[in-house]
Symmetry: C2
Subunit: 386 residues, 2 copies
Amino acid sequence: MSVTGPAGFRAAGVAAGIKDAGAKDLALVVNDGPRQTAAGVFTTNKVKAAPVLWSQQVLQERKLRAVVLNSGCANACTGPGGFQDTHATAEKVAEVLGVGAIEVAVCSTGLIGERLPMDALLPGVDAAAASLEATEQHGLDAATAVLTTDSRAKQAHRGHDEGWSIGGFAKGAGMLAPNMATMLSVLTTDAEISGEDLDEALRAATKVTFDRLDVDGGTSTNDTVLVLASGASGVRVDPAEFTRLLTETCQDLVRQLQDDSEGATKTIDITVRGAVSEADAVAIGRIVAEDNLVKTAMFGSDPNWGRIAMALGRAPAEIDVDEVAIATNGVTLYADGATASDRGEADLSGRHIEIVIDLQLGEHAATILSTDLSHGYVEENSAYSS
Amino acid sequence: MSVTGPAGFRAAGVAAGIKDAGAKDLALVVNDGPRQTAAGVFTTNKVKAAPVLWSQQVLQERKLRAVVLNSGCANACTGPGGFQDTHATAEKVAEVLGVGAIEVAVCSTGLIGERLPMDALLPGVDAAAASLEATEQHGLDAATAVLTTDSRAKQAHRGHDEGWSIGGFAKGAGMLAPNMATMLSVLTTDAEISGEDLDEALRAATKVTFDRLDVDGGTSTNDTVLVLASGASGVRVDPAEFTRLLTETCQDLVRQLQDDSEGATKTIDITVRGAVSEADAVAIGRIVAEDNLVKTAMFGSDPNWGRIAMALGRAPAEIDVDEVAIATNGVTLYADGATASDRGEADLSGRHIEIVIDLQLGEHAATILSTDLSHGYVEENSAYSS
């Protein structure tokens, strides 16, 4: 179950003909209320796609009636014409739903630098609007219509004892190093919550979930996470409790993104602890996550911890080389400035690998989720646009 | 010709048994003077190998009689025992040459986290000292003995009209993103120059050569570039003229490093111009050079400029998206905020690719040299230590 899990939402996913071969490529998620509270976080890349610029603008009101999403084209680096296409998409959705365009967010994902085929997209909006329903299947259709190189839909749903829930879907398989956030995700809830609290909860949740996934360092031009609250449960939530459940839902989606990222044969969790600040822990985790020599060693199931030491030594963070301890899958390989165990003692042959770096300097920690660098990644990404 | 080109130098390269299979693995370069002026630049990685710590210390005197280098073991992350091994190596060289250990620099390259096999290394020093000569072949032997995954020796030599010259060798094939400098290089000259001028010239030359090579972002624990001046030509050089020729020699070596880097099927020059500062130009060039999505697209000969736009947008530098122009192999693909030419017009099928990013904001420029990300890189690096 995903966006249609909470009460007050309908969804649809159709094949509009933006992608070749009749695959679903247009999704619509509608909030029927009674409330239409919303919040969003967006890519930090200076190069922002037209739909990001549009959605950032409409989100200033913290109110959304609908989100329209397409795959097959990112509508990024497309100039004023591309922005007009996004605007026209929102206008079209507004027209068929009888709402204002300012209440419609737009998300796009796919190849950068191509214009949207509007002659396919606009009729697709009609088709999507005509098929809107609140069923689980319709939620899955929407989650499917946003996929690009993903191999499967990513959905999550969490219920709360007090009678409300949070649902969501996400897509993302490459160009995946959110900050914030290298993919598209739409979350829904029937909780009653103020726009300010919703915004704060979303920022808190994404900071420790989507922002800690780093597959290839590639913060994209289109990253967007939106949360829509219908208030349909009639339950006014405690913001802290809402943040907790939202974080859990986001983390569920992030685990699915990690597992399905391009070419991944390993999922790698890099935990940095004993840091003087959380920022230091994140910086070190990220630099290890993005290091191609670490990533290829992990692909080869090779506990070559020297590469981890090399990578962390170039992080903009406080470290004391003689204090650092490095463990892989529970075996400490480096400690007190020298080899602690023979690397052969760490078995990295399974799909999941845990790297733990203990700086032994402070009290802060963070875990970055990553993957290996495989032939599959190279294969998939050397032939994407052509 | 390399380090034995300039007058006053002898070299040797022998198989000491540090590597398996009888490959050359120990090099010695000796400065017979009359002067022994020297300078060095070292890795900026916080994790520094024992030989780097040692050589930084001895270089404070700006005087070197000899450099001893080994491949097959980096002697990094080896604790106090590893430092003692480096010290003992310098002592051994000092003893056989009849000089002070404080006049001997040590360089190591190879796997991180392993101790040096001193029972092979120390007899190797005797063998190397016994075979020291000033011939071209002996220079090549030394250049060969430092190689790891390199497929060939890298040597350079430049003569000056006034009767002096500069020679050098370098090694480096992976973990290659100097700052300063992801590899080992020894340069020699028979020019007469003060220690201060030599140091300044080396810093100026490496800043625009070795520091602008970025294959995989992996600044290593052992990076060292040394320059030794014998004064044997009897010519007192103009420092500016010396810096010019030293830069040319370094650039020659860097081009060889770029061309021979692990798994490279393409050499890629990324020129960033119109930047508000040189630092901005370098930062953008580097982030594009390290981006796996750009690198895999280049491997596929795919002018997917959207990935270049994505990468530069995440650089810590000043950009105006609507002003940026991106060209590959002479064809402008993106300008004025939108597609400028069909990507099919840029032919990237050859081995060399030129990416030019014009920010159109200022007067500064820099070129970063890089390579693609290929199956060969993944293959080579997934099985290095095991």
